[in-house]
């Protein structure tokens, strides 16, 4: 792919949404090369400089590009499910300009060469920005610590054993302690594995379907234990994809106690409940499992009141062979990158949260958690932008996904909110903004 240096581009006639600065109103953004050089209500006062390419946003929203803090890569190792390129293309189609990827590739990202391989491949693609988590333990085995310090120097943002819980209390204690030495964040998949032997949420539905259940206590118990260990070690802890009402309460208490604890959730857990499993729909087989309606409502509440810091897609591509199986045998996980924005905007359309608040959970909040200079529109920042129409209705049809895997539990769902253009480092990497009659020069903004 050719990477031409973009010149000066003015995004005009936009509703500028920048949660980091609290901006929400009509405005314009000027970028030059890779950077944002100016943001304001009216930058040009009617006389546009000749060397500036105009992009007419036609009144649509312009926000910082989305920062997705939980994406599973399948390259290296399982390229038949997703390649770095298909993931990156899916990301930009979803308005995601930065994604943080889990280390459960094959080989596992528990050493520097694997991390550097992914970073180099992503750089060459020049689509979304790809960052990686490092493994907490060697081989994700939950026994010996991986070389966290060296991995951090090589670029690992934070540390996690991906879809596996760090179950051994002593190992978690040491991970928090050792991580604290270098100021590293430990991200937990909070689920007690000995309780999580089932295939869906425990309860009436599982009983009716004859499926073995995972009790919500599997998550609750692990979180409670971890919070004790955080208090003991003064470590930096982040709980991924929380899914129960008790989890929200536990995190709220930990924050109130001044512990360095944060959490995220995924759209699955605030937009769906266990009824989606319906007639053994394996696309709704997720980890953690979809929970009861009361839990879903509590997750919405947690996002509203800020106990849940961020929304991540928890993108877990699976090929159809892994899903077209009897429910107990099917793989866990759902595709999420391309529905992240639209499904999250349910929170806005349902009147639960303001638009800027939803965008905060998708941009500056996860960027801050990961220590990334992203997710904002300040002068001097990299020009990572998403232009979207928050109201346009469409229907999720997983077969039309850019991602190689079509395993979306949202398949067939009517949603509102469409990504129209995605800009990374000043370059347009995804474009569905309708052609502009405003000026012929606008076409030049389209890089591909």
């Amino acid at each position: 792919m050719s990477v031409a240096k973009p010149g000066r581009i003015a995004y005009i006639n936009a509703r500028v949404l920048d949660p980091a600065s609290g901006t929400d109103g009509p405005g314009e953004v000027l970028t030059s090369g890779e950077e944002i050089v100016d943001v304001g209500k009216k930058l040009f006062d009617g006389k546009l400089p000749a060397d500036v390419t105009i992009v007419d946003c036609q009144g649509h929203c312009l926000s910082p590009g989305l920062v997705d803090m939980r994406v599973q890569l399948r390259e290296p190792g399982e390229e038949h499910k997703e390649t770095l390129e298909s993931a990156a293309r899916a990301a930009v189609a979803g308005g995601v300009t930065t994604m943080a990827c889990l280390p459960n590739t094959n080989p596992i990202m528990d050493d520097e060469p694997t991390l550097e391989f992914v970073a180099r491949r992503a750089r060459l693609l020049a689509l979304t920005k790809v960052y990686c988590y490092g493994a907490v333990t060697k081989g994700l085995q939950g026994k010996e610590l991986a070389e966290m310090g060296l991995l951090a120097e090589a670029g690992a943002l934070a540390f996690t054993d991906a879809t596996r819980a760090i179950a051994d209390a002593q190992v978690m204690r040491r991970a928090l302690q050792y991580g604290a030495t270098f100021g590293l964040m430990i991200v937990q998949h909070p689920e007690e594995p000995t309780l999580a032997t089932g295939v869906m949420n425990a309860g009436e539905i599982a009983t009716r379907m004859g499926l073995s259940g995972i009790p919500r206590e599997a998550e609750i118990i692990m979180l409670e234990r971890d919070i004790r260990l955080v208090a003991m070690t003064d470590g930096r802890y982040h709980a991924a994809h929380i899914s129960t009402s008790d989890s929200v309460e536990i995190i709220a208490r930990a924050k109130k106690d001044g512990l360095k604890v944060t959490c995220d959730t995924a759209p699955f857990y605030f937009a769906l409940n266990e009824l989606s499993v319906g007639d053994y729909r394996t696309f709704a087989k997720l980890s953690p499992p979809l929970r009861a309606e009361e839990d879903r409502q509590a997750i919405v509440e947690g996002l509203k009141n800020g106990i849940i810091d961020a929304i991540a897609s928890d993108h877990s591509p699976q090929d159809s062979d892994s899903k077209r199986l009897p429910f107990p045998q099917a793989a866990y996980g759902g595709s999420g990158l391309e529905t992240l924005l639209a499904v999250s905007l349910d929170l806005y359309h349902n009147g639960d949260m303001s638009l800027i608040d939803v965008m905060r959970r998708l941009t500056c909040a996860p960027a801050d958690l990961l220590g990334l200079e992203a997710g904002g529109l300040a002068k001097g920042r990299k020009a990572d932008l998403t232009i979207f129409d928050p109201d346009e209705g469409w229907k999720v049809i997983a077969d039309t996904f850019v991602s190689k895997s079509k395993n979306s539990p949202f398949d067939g769902r009517p949603v509102q909110g469409r990504v129209l253009r995605t800009v990374v480092d000043g370059r347009t990497v995804f474009d569905q903004l309708p052609a502009q009659s405003h000026t012929g020069e606008a076409k030049r903004a389209t890089a591909r």
Binding site: T197, A202, G203, E204, A206, T207, R208, M209, G210, L211, S212, G213, P215, D279, Y280, D321, R324, L325, P326, F327, P328, Q329, A330
Partner: protein, 323 residues
């Protein structure tokens, strides 16, 4: 045309059936009991039709019962026992479904160790499918034959008090049975140690007991379940000895039930684990052998209805194809 009294293409479970449909199948089964007890024992209702027994799990009784039922209706029967290795079981399932479908069978009788697997297969074929047991989900023909046994002995299902005892957690027989009995207006108790009671099962309408002596009080029917040791991962019960002591059916516990209470068991029995031989073989009370006999009649009724509906389905889809 599909049978208007039972218009379903498949019998995947009791869930979703209404009492009229259940009664219809039981009435039809009743007639086949008479056929089976006559000297000729045959009918030509399904002459020229093909029934495939597709079993992904070991079974002697159910498979034999389906086979006999199909043969007595004059159908051609093929038995397929598919070995399920731990790898790529599911590929085998869908591949097998597609392969079999190409041979145009009329009805598949399917058993599979995973809940929902029979439904998955039914979605991929044009013929009728009868669930011969899927994981811990449902085993509808067992529930029908149990209901037929009770109805013939007690003259009704409505208003009876039925106790289902033992490993309810892993039992597809229990699920199908309480769904059917509740639909027909019976009261159902389940009796088991807490480790073998599925979560929130009371929300499905059953009463939950953990003490055999209390749970069996005044019941009309005692259904014992097999302790499915092959499904047990982890420690659900400490020992067979302890299980039998508290939950095995013997004379003493049985004394709590009504004097004319019937004893039932889906088989195969673990004597001395969930049931004492003394009560299992009591000809006055135990109807376990009768259950086996009536099973053939129930499966004849189900196969006949599904084969008819399958023909009707294919006729309409052929018309659509040529149109």
């Amino acid at each position: 045309m599909r049978d208007p009294a039972f218009p379903h293409r498949h019998l995947l479970g009791i869930e979703g059936l209404n009492s009229a449909e259940i009664n219809y199948l039981l009435d039809l089964s009743d007639r086949y009991v008479d056929v089976n007890r006559s000297a000729a024992k045959t009918s030509d209702a399904l002459a020229g039709r093909t029934i495939v027994n597709l079993f992904f799990e070991n079974s002697t009784r159910t498979r034999t019962s389906f086979e006999l039922a199909a043969k007595r209706l004059g159908a051609n029967v093929i038995n397929m026992q598919v070995e399920t290795s731990s790898v790529s079981k599911g590929e085998t399932l869908i591949d097998t479904a597609v392969t079999l479908n190409a041979m145009h069978p009329d009805v598949l009788a399917v058993r599979h160790p995973d809940s929902g697997a029979v439904k998955l297969l039914a979605d991929k074929v044009n013929c009728g499918v009868v669930n011969g047991g899927d994981g811990s989900h449902e085993h509808p023909t067992q529930a029908l034959l149990d209901a037929l046994t009770i109805r013939r002995r007690k003259g009704k299902l409505n208003g009876l008090l039925v106790a289902i005892c033992g490993d309810v957690l892993h039992s597809r027989v229990a699920r199908s049975n309480f769904l059917l009995l509740l639909t027909m207006g019976a009261r159902v108790r389940i009796i088991a140690p807490r480790t073998l009671i599925p979560s929130a099962v009371d929300r499905l309408g059953v009463e939950v007991f953990t003490d055999m002596n209390k749970g069996l009080k005044d019941v009309d029917i005692v259904m014992m379940l097999r302790v499915q040791s092959e499904r047990m991962r982890g420690s659900f019960i400490p020992s067979i000895r302890e299980y039998f002591h508290f939950f095995g059916l013997d004379r003493e516990k049985l004394a709590q039930a009504k004097p004319d209470a019937l004893i039932m068991h889906p088989g195969p029995m673990n004597r001395g684990t969930e049931i004492d031989s003394d009560v299992a073989d009591d000809v006055e009370r135990s109807v376990i052998r009768e259950q086996v006999e009536l099973g053939v009649a129930v499966r004849m009724a189900v196969l006949e209805v599904l084969a008819k509906n399958a023909m009707a389905h294919n006729a309409t889809s052929n018309m659509r194809r040529t149109a």
